[in-house]
């Protein structure tokens, strides 16, 4: 899903394959962008990954990501070497908050607070 310079990719896989597939996708995106003279900046509030583990071995995979990998994905790229991409519980896309759990509570509360500010 793209809107001017805001770009989102959705990917679905088994919990055990999710990290691998996301890493593969990110490598392709980073290198393709590099070939068009664009460098993505990775970090909180920049380019991030939201992982929602579900189903078989989901808990084990989530714990592995949190404890062993420190909520970061090591990303091998052709043009920039190895990069680190943070894994975040939510991110903001076109003014809306998307949580890995799919909950809308944060979004509703933020909207209410913004409306009260006005």
């Amino acid at each position: 899903m793209a809107w001017t310079d805001d770009l989102t990719f959705a990917i679905m896989a088994k919990a055990t394959d999710l990290t691998k597939k996301v890493t593969f996708l990110l490598s392709i995106i980073t290198d393709t962008m590099a070939e068009h003279a664009m460098k993505l900046s990775y970090g909180q509030g920049k380019t991030t990954v939201v992982l929602a583990y579900r189903g078989w071995k989901a808990v084990r995979e989530r714990q592995k990501m949190e404890k062993q990998m420190g909520n970061k994905i090591a990303l091998p790229t052709e043009h920039y070497g190895c990069l680190e991409v943070p894994v975040v519980p939510y991110y903001k896309h076109l003014g809306g908050y998307i949580l890995r759990s799919g909950a809308k509570l944060l979004e509703i509360r933020v909207r209410q607070a913004l409306a009260m500010q006005n």
Binding site: G95, G96, G102, A103, K104, L105, E107, I108, R109, R111, Q112, L114, A115, M116, N118
Partner: protein, 134 residues
């Protein structure tokens, strides 16, 4: 908004344009809300209605909220959410984008009662019960 001299129609316009427009952004994409989410949504919408009427909103019964909504010419929280869903559905029907429709159907296949489509069916049924099938 706190100025008593501002007439009701102007306050309605201010709340709709500056308050409710912010609350309603992306509201049409909400899936079926949980109880906690609904309470937050209810507070946001009722807050807007009460601001229009310059009323305090603490511990008011549903009937009082309904009367306030009628007085402020505003919708009740659930009706507003349903209307937003139907509005988005009409946009989707106008575009008929294959990927979008496939995504909606897939979401319904996976999430069932937690899906957006399930929420839309509830909204349409509610609409039918209010205005009839025609």
């Amino acid at each position: 908004m706190t100025d008593q001299r501002v007439p009701l129609p102007k306050r309605q316009m201010l709340v709709r344009s500056m308050g409710m427009s912010v609350v309603l952004l992306h509201a049409s994409t909400c899936f079926d809300l949980t109880i906690g989410e609904y309470k937050a949504w209810h507070a946001a919408v009722v807050g807007g209605t009460h601001q229009t009427l310059q009323k305090k909103e603490a511990n008011e019964a549903n009937e009082a909220n309904a009367n306030a909504a009628m007085e402020a010419n505003a919708a009740m929280p659930m009706e507003l959410l349903y209307l937003q869903r139907i509005r988005l559905f009409l946009h989707i029907l106008q575009k008929l984008h294959e990927c979008l429709i496939a995504g909606i159907l897939h979401n319904h296949h996976v999430a069932r009662k937690g899906s957006w489509l399930y929420g839309l069916v509830k909204a349409v049924k509610r609409w039918q019960s209010q205005v009839g099938r025609e």
